[in-house]
């Protein structure tokens, strides 16, 4: 393994983007949650909201700085690890990365100072606007990065001249076929990551006996956002799957570990895919399940890996990453709804639900990383 430069370059880049995504996936949504806290304080004058804001703005600053630093390493690795890629598509990737810096990063970098240190030093409305601009900046940043990532999956609006991509339609490049649904999926993932972080940390404080109003507000905010977003995410995830089926059927075949094209394709819940034998071992599946989900018809024909001999992604990593993502999502649904019901009925989480929320504090990271592994490993070869 250690003498294969392509594999090592993949591992190194994967390690970096894995580390990097941990932080933006929090800040994108935490910025909006901070704005909500600030607006609640402004409207109610309840200092518990400002106390909550002051705690989470420190977390935001720490997370933002780690995201920026790891992002810089990633931009260097585009050149050091994948010079052939940047030589080929630099005309597209370069401007999209520059738009992110110009429109999003500058906005965040300028106003995060006011957001962090401005309360009591600038007018309340100016501090609130700074918080809003930072939230908009984090989302704009996600917009441009997802535009580039999606373009790598479903390229559009360009022509190849002498082996180099040249832009012909920037609108088609930015809003390429998989971009809108991927952006929605990522923004919701960020919302869930931040929601479970807020709920989990608040539950941890609650279980330690901290009954401050800010802790109660954090608990209610995190659980409510999680309970609302998770069913939306499941719906959007299904739409993303249908989009992938249309544009990247080999990835779907790997996700389903479906070796042969045909109708009545089972939904494989568990299996050990064997690429050498091109079959699944110890398979447990729901008959016609994949046909029903992907074609909304039990007799629907689902593309199999037999259509992509030697041109499909490695099956096991994609298959397992997808199941980790979905499994984490189901756990999120269960914990968020039980916690919401408990808070609604009794006003407090209780020991068991509180412990479950603490256990799920970083579940958003697990789901986001496994989801990106499905997306990016599924793009191979």
């Amino acid at each position: 393994m250690l003498d294969d430069p392509v594999l090592l370059a993949r591992l190194q880049f994967a390690a970096n983007i894995t580390f990097h995504i941990l932080f933006p996936t929090i800040t994108i949504a935490l910025g909006w949650m901070l704005l909500f806290m600030k607006l609640r304080f402004t409207w109610t004058r309840d200092s518990a909201w400002m106390e909550l804001y002051r705690f989470w703005v420190k977390v935001f600053a720490l997370t933002f700085s780690l995201g920026v630093v790891s992002g810089i390493v990633m931009s260097f690795q585009f050149g050091t690890n994948w010079p052939g890629f940047m030589n080929t598509v630099g005309n597209i990737a370069g401007p999209l990365l520059a738009y992110e810096v110009m429109t999003a990063f500058f906005l965040e970098a300028v106003f995060i100072g006011v957001m962090l240190f401005g309360h009591g030093r600038v007018a309340n409305w100016a501090h609130t606007i700074a918080t809003a601009l930072v939230a908009i900046g984090t989302t704009l940043s996600a917009f441009w990065i997802i535009a580039l990532s999606s373009w790598m999956h479903t390229p559009a609006g360009f022509e190849m001249r002498d082996g180099v991509a040249h832009a012909t339609d920037w609108s088609a490049i930015v809003f390429n076929p998989s971009m809108p649904i991927r952006l929605a999926h990522m923004l919701l993932a960020s919302g869930l990551t931040a929601a479970f972080l807020v709920a989990g940390m608040s539950a941890w404080r609650w279980l330690r006996g901290d009954r401050a109003p800010a802790v109660r507000n954090g608990l209610r905010l995190g659980v409510t956002v999680a309970a609302v977003l998770i069913p939306v995410q499941i719906f959007v995830g299904d739409m993303h799957g249908l989009n992938t089926l249309e544009h990247q059927p080999a990835k779907i075949a790997a996700i389903e570990a479906n070796w042969e094209t045909g109708p009545h394709t089972p939904l494989v819940l568990f299996a050990i895919p064997d690429e050498a034998a091109r079959e699944n071992r110890f398979e447990i599946g729901i008959p016609s399940g994949a046909s029903w989900i992907l074609k909304h018809d039990a007799a629907g024909v689902v593309p199999g890996l037999d259509q992509f001999e030697e041109r499909h992604p490695p099956v096991s990593p994609v298959f397992w990453s997808f199941r980790v993502m979905v499994g984490t999502g189901m756990a999120m649904l269960a914990v968020a709804w039980v916690a919401a019901w408990r808070l609604w009925r009794r006003g407090e989480p209780g020991t068991l639900v509180g412990a479950a929320l603490v256990a799920m504090t970083f579940s958003g990271w697990v789901a986001t990383i496994s989801g990106w592994y499905v997306t990016e490993i599924g793009r191979q070869p």
Partner: protein
């Protein structure tokens, strides 16, 4: 379609392996420090010095 091996650099494998291990060590340290800091901040407990202005303000009650 541009395959991954066509886009890779010609940097020696040993050099990539060395920097990869360096990154892994650094990221493990930073991640542990990040999570530790979160729980340190949370464990410090509640603030009682929040400035609240204007009529109808609800002050933070004293710590039990």
């Amino acid at each position: 379609m541009l395959a991954t091996h066509e886009a890779a650099s010609d940097v020696p494998a040993a050099m990539i392996a060395t920097t990869f291990l360096g990154y892994m060590g650094l990221y493990a340290f930073l991640l542990a420090a990040y999570v530790g800091t979160l729980y340190y901040l949370a464990g410090k407990g509640r603030r009682t010095d929040v400035t609240v202005e204007g009529p109808g303000a609800v002050p933070v009650p004293s710590q039990a």
